[in-house]
């Protein structure tokens, strides 16, 4: 059967210093549509490297990566941009909202590059998404006028703008207090229940507990995968 994500023997070698660093040292796995996956592991184990490659933000040194059955490991920068735009949503630890730009305009941004909706439809969808993440009244606020938890919710709304099948999140609660973290994770759970695939990096067990499947990494290797029938 066709998997949503299928990676084979993925390697990422950084050759900066004298000793090349293998941030990913031959990782293989599959992820199915609708899964909620947490990637865990010690600092420097290669979690972010893995997520960035899965999110088409970075390219592997070797190995293959099929996304929706399409090989993406060696695509042009433009093609990767189109894939990210249509199929992938991102939530970052530090939110990465455009400064001095209102929440609603931040949410609209992915459709500027896709240009799927007209001006008013885009605005309407952005408003709906803000409502959805519980920020209905905050559309005209700029990031500086929002709390960290609120900013992360704007970022989630933005990630959902083009209705991507997959959401990637690198330590989405890393900069948040417990209350905000719980809010964000509840949101993720809801989205997951609606069928969106979520791949999330975290090193907090209670955050990872929201996920249905847990991957553990060490020194660029996938050492544990608790999925039934998952793994390489």
């Amino acid at each position: 059967m066709e998997h949503l994500i299928e990676i084979r023997d993925l390697r990422k070698i950084y050759a900066l210093g004298e000793e090349p660093v293998a941030a990913l040292d031959g990782v293989s796995l599959t992820i199915e549509q609708g899964e909620f996956v947490a990637i865990m592991g010690a600092s420097g184990s290669g979690k972010s490297t893995m997520l960035n490659i899965l999110g088409c933000l970075d390219t592997p040194t070797s190995g293959s990566y099929l996304l929706d059955g399409i090989e993406v490991a060696r695509r042009s920068r433009t093609e990767l941009a189109r894939i990210r735009n249509r199929k992938l949503g991102f939530v970052f630890q530090n939110f990465n909202l455009l400064a001095r730009t209102t929440a609603i305009e931040n949410v609209e941004l992915p459709d500027f590059y896709l240009n799927r909706l007209g001006r008013s439809a885009r605005r309407a969808r952005a408003r709906m998404l803000l409502e959805r993440v519980g920020l209905g009244g905050r559309g005209t606020h700029t990031p500086a006028q929002l709390s960290g938890g609120q900013q992360q919710r704007v970022a989630i709304a933005r990630a959902l703008m083009n209705e991507p099948p997959v959401l990637f999140a690198d330590e989405p609660t890393g900069n948040l207090d417990t209350k905000s973290s719980v809010e964000i994770m509840n949101l993720f759970t809801e989205l997951s229940n609606e069928g969106i695939t979520i791949v999330m990096v975290t090193h907090e067990d209670d955050i990872a507990a929201y996920a249905k499947r847990h991957l553990l990494m060490r020194d660029g290797h996938l050492i544990k995968d608790d999925a039934s029938g998952g793994g390489a």
Binding site: L57, A81, N96, L98, R158
Partner: protein, 410 residues
């Protein structure tokens, strides 16, 4: 992403850094303003010059004697003087009277003119009675000398306004006797004000006398008939080509030139002078415009500099935009458009400043000013080009960045 949206993003980015954007634009503003001012003054001056030159004469054609090169070398020893004669002029007048309405030989000599204790150095023009018609120069007081006086080498003259005010600050010059090179001349009249000529000379600083008198009496020439220069007036400029041809034939015949000989004279009409002068002044304009263009270059480098800073400063924004789907082309377009908006905004302000500046300078200096719409539009479009050119490199650098490197950038 359509152009309008990119445009909005660009305008917003510029608006966010108002002070810096304004400072960046200054280079372009002054560069464009300088171009506009220089072109306005240059075009104004050359148009004015053309107008002045055509005012110099009435359907005027000029003949100059020229030394002729033959196999034997330059013909005509120094003492022999010029090939052209006053009689040539009379012959043209007589035989080509259907084309030519007036003829004057012209000889010039720099002389000291004296009245009482007043003393003035000026140019004495020897000419015929028809000089006034040809030069479009009326007598203001008194009357021109007549043919009899011309024939008899009478010691009479007319003086230009500048000479009149210098020699006769209080008196009426008409009827007085002045000394030209120690010879007494009766002042028959004062010429009307002619003003500054196309070459910047004071045309009223002149004394007019019969050419016969100038040649025979003032210069005591051994070749009194030889003149360097003849001016004539045609009935109509439509007959210019015919007239030039006829005059050429007549002069060749009179000078007994063989078919193989070159002309020993040159016939020049005002159109030629005008076009030469415009060429000279447009060369000046080009030079000045080049200087202005250098300042635009500096302005462009300023834009490039700021855009490079801007790319570095907004590297996380670039990373984020790439992460959510901006293609390298989108990023390239965004930063180029930003540079173009900056530079065209500067260009528009520069055009406005330049037009205002040109008018002000024109008013203060009394110079003729001509702002051609084409130069304003051209300067504006050029500013867009400057933005595109100097914005390209920073934009290209931004578009080559890796999304993940941008997002990690501290």
């Amino acid at each position: 992403m359509n152009v309008f949206m990119i445009f909005r993003v660009a305008v917003r980015a510029i608006w966010r850094n108002k002070t810096r954007s304004a400072l960046t634009m200054l280079g372009i503003i002054f560069g464009i303003a300088a171009v506009i001012v220089v072109l306005a003054i240059g075009r104004g001056a050359s148009l004015n010059m053309v107008a002045e030159i055509s005012k110099m004469g009435n359907n005027m054609v000029m003949i100059f004697s020229e030394q002729r090169h033959t196999a034997a070398g330059v013909r005509g020893a120094a003492g022999e003087g010029q090939s052209l004669t006053a009689s040539d002029g009379l012959a043209i007048r007589r035989e080509l009277s259907h084309l030519v309405q007036a003829v004057t030989p012209e000889v010039r000599t720099q002389m000291q003119v004296v009245y009482a204790e007043k003393n003035w150095s000026t140019t004495v023009y020897g000419c015929s009675t028809e000089f006034s018609t040809i030069r479009n120069w009326e007598v203001a007081e008194g009357s021109f000398f007549d043919e009899l006086e011309e024939k008899q080498c009478a010691r009479v003259c007319l003086i230009g306004r500048t000479v009149a005010t210098n020699l006769f600050p209080n008196d009426d010059p008409v009827g007085r006797t002045i000394r030209i090179g120690n010879m007494p001349f009766k002042v028959k009249g004062v010429m009307g004000v002619k003003g500054v000529g196309g070459f910047g000379q004071d045309q009223d600083d002149a004394v007019l006398a019969p050419y016969t008198t100038v040649k025979r009496v003032l210069q005591a020439s051994k070749f009194p008939d030889n003149v360097r220069h003849i001016k004539l007036s045609l009935y109509s400029m439509d007959q210019l080509d015919e007239a030039k041809r006829e005059i050429g034939l007549l002069l060749r015949q009179r000078h007994r030139l063989a078919d193989s000989d070159d002309d020993d004279f040159r016939i020049i009409d005002m159109a030629e002078i005008t076009s030469t002068m415009s060429a000279v002044s447009s060369t000046m304009t080009v030079l000045l415009a080049a200087v202005a263009a250098i300042s635009l270059l500096v302005g462009g480098i300023g834009i490039m500099n700021i855009m490079l800073v801007s790319v570095t400063e907004r590297i996380r924004e670039i990373g984020l935009r790439m992460a959510i789907g901006a293609t390298p082309a989108n990023i390239l377009g965004q930063f180029i458009l930003e540079a173009v908006v900056l530079s065209t905004l500067g260009g528009a302000l520069g055009v406005a400043l330049g037009v205002a500046g040109a008018q002000t300078i024109g008013n203060l200096q009394g110079w003729p000013i001509l702002v051609e719409p084409s130069s304003a539009i051209g300067a504006f479009l050029f500013s867009a080009l400057v933005g595109m050119f100097f914005g390209f490199y920073p934009a290209w650098r931004a578009s080559r960045l890796n999304p993940i490197d941008c997002l990690r950038y501290e």
